[in-house]
């Protein structure tokens, strides 16, 4: 049984910052984290000395939250280094809201940064190094899985069961590029057509190169504060109306490949917010691969199960066309995918939309409710999902 937190007590996102770099060979990962922290605090009108809670995931240099607390010189009373893969930062929003509601902190800083581009990572195509102690590693390592190969399996199954087509997948990339052309910081700004995607080389069929996200350096940060502090700042008040987290397990091989953890994390977030999909005016959906957006649209209830392909091919995730535009910054497919982890930029663009600070051609008019959703690890095996629903109240 979910109990809604009374609106007056909800934690709020007061600061959000997306690092402008997409290639940073001249900076350390620690410096990128620090620059993101400073950017988000400046955006909120706060400073490092105001921070009393810090959240990060495994991308923090050294992988231990306390090392970044030391690096930043923070004086905190609450620290959380919860690692959940790419959805970590969406989950951190929920965890920070809980910590603030419990009185553990009043100003929570969340940071992400990394340099996969300048370190030459072939993120999607290299075989995952699976440490022998990882529970399923002995049974997965022989098959040299790549993340693109995993999502290739998921996409092919979706095509087989629901009749989804490569053209429909390509619509997700084309839609993202329609948004990215208005974003001066986007990694790929040139408009991409459905045909361009189909003509790009096959990486792991049925996924073409342009069905995949970009690989770039960068980072981002968020600042969450108590309701009282939010009302004292000269910023729009963006409340965390609901959050949900789920782990969808492999169930010993008895899992449905086309059902993701978002079914559960989304339902939990909607229940906590007391809302339904029809209330949402903008959605950020993690888009490492085009198929992921289609499956999230289904699992979150924006369209019926199996109808995601048709939905996107009707132009319904494009700003100015669909009721709920998706990834108006250009998403991970075109704009930014720092450290191969999509959760952070998903929340940041949702905050921009709610503040009316999105790029004018993609701004949703009078946007007051937005959703951000992300996954960690890969569908088809044990994976994490996190959902947040944000509401502007001032």
């Amino acid at each position: 049984m979910h109990t809604s937190i009374s609106p007056s007590a909800r934690a709020c996102i007061a600061g959000a910052y997306e690092h402008p770099t997409r290639f940073a060979p001249d900076r350390s990962v620690a410096q990128l984290h620090a620059e993101c922290a400073a950017g988000a605090l400046a955006d909120a009108g706060l400073s490092m000395s105001d921070v009393d809670g810090y959240f990060c995931a495994a991308d923090a240099p050294g992988g231990i939250a306390a090392l970044m607390v030391d690096h930043l010189g923070l004086d905190v009373r609450h620290v959380d280094g919860t690692e959940s893969g790419g959805c970590s930062y969406v989950r951190h929003v929920g965890l920070a809201a809980q910590a603030i509601a419990a009185g553990k902190c009043n100003v929570a800083l969340i940071t992400l940064a990394g340099k996969p581009r300048s370190s030459g990572q072939a993120t999607g195509t290299e075989f995952r190094a699976l440490p022998p102690v990882q529970p399923a590693a002995a049974w997965e390592a022989p098959y040299d899985w790549s993340i693109t190969g995993i999502f290739g399996n998921v996409a092919r199954r979706h095509m087989h069961v629901h009749g989804t087509t490569s053209e429909q997948l390509a619509w997700v990339k084309a839609s993202a590029s329609m948004h990215a052309q208005h974003n001066p910081q986007a990694f790929l700004r040139k408009p991409i057509s459905v045909q361009d995607v189909l003509d790009s080389p096959m990486v792991a069929d049925p996924l073409h190169r342009m069905d995949c996200c970009v690989i770039n350096d960068g980072g981002g940060a968020l600042v969450l504060v108590s309701a009282a502090i939010a009302r004292s700042l000269q910023r729009p008040v963006i409340e965390v109306a609901g959050s949900g987290y789920a782990v969808a397990t492999n169930r010993g091989g008895h899992f449905a490949m086309l059902q993701t953890g978002t079914l559960a994390s989304g339902a939990r977030a909607f229940a906590e917010a007391g809302m339904v999909p029809a209330d949402v005016q903008y959605a950020s959906l993690y888009d490492a691969f085009t198929i992921m957006v289609i499956m999230q649209l289904e699992d979150l209830g924006f369209c019926a199960s199996g109808q995601g392909g048709r939905y996107v091919a009707e132009g319904r995730i494009v700003a100015g066309q669909g009721r709920v535009p998706v990834n108006t910054d250009g998403g991970g497919l075109c704009n930014n995918h720092p450290q191969n982890r999509g959760g952070m930029t998903k929340v940041i663009e949702a905050v921009r939309q709610l503040r009316g600070e999105a790029r004018p051609p993609v701004q949703v008019k009078d946007c007051s409710v937005a959703l951000a959703n992300a996954q960690g690890m890969a569908f088809g095996m044990g994976h994490s999902t996190a959902t947040v629903i944000l509401e502007r109240t001032r």
Partner: protein
């Protein structure tokens, strides 16, 4: 098992990390696929571990599987150091297994096609189940 096979298993870091599962790899040396069956809920699961992920029971029996399955989904990983077919197979015993389809004409791959297990030596030393077309 001869001593040479034993040495290969001893040297495999994945075998060393999972001492409780050694019987599965010893069977694989004889090209036998063992799949754990839970004596409490009666279901097979994959991959092996110390408990049943469906009901939590530790009362498990490794059962010699039929080796038959059907292709559930697949992707031809083309842009890689080793182009190959990454797949999930629905074992006749019930569970889905991540695996690889070998010796197949990729244009002939179809979801639902019958497959038969085979074994391939891993670079680390143990043998791993892979699948090939059952109609060959």
């Amino acid at each position: 098992m001869n001593s040479e096979n034993l040495e290969q298993l001893e040297a495999d870091p994945y075998v060393a990390a999972n001492p409780e599962l050694r019987g599965y790899w010893e069977a694989a040396e004889r090209d036998i696929l063992l799949v754990p069956r839970c004596n409490a809920c009666g279901k097979f699961h994959w991959h092996p571990r110390c408990l049943c992920p469906l009901c939590g029971s530790a009362d498990l029996t490794p059962v010699e599987a039929s080796g038959r399955g059907k292709l559930h989904s697949f992707s031809i990983i083309r842009r890689s150091a080793r182009p190959h077919v990454l797949a999930w197979v629905r074992l006749q015993e019930g569970p889905l297994m991540m695996t690889e389809v070998v010796d197949a004409a990729t244009e002939a791959l179809r979801i639902g096609m019958p497959l038969q297990v085979a074994f391939r030596r891993t670079p680390q030393g143990r043998k791993a189940p892979v699948f090939r077309s059952a109609t060959r």
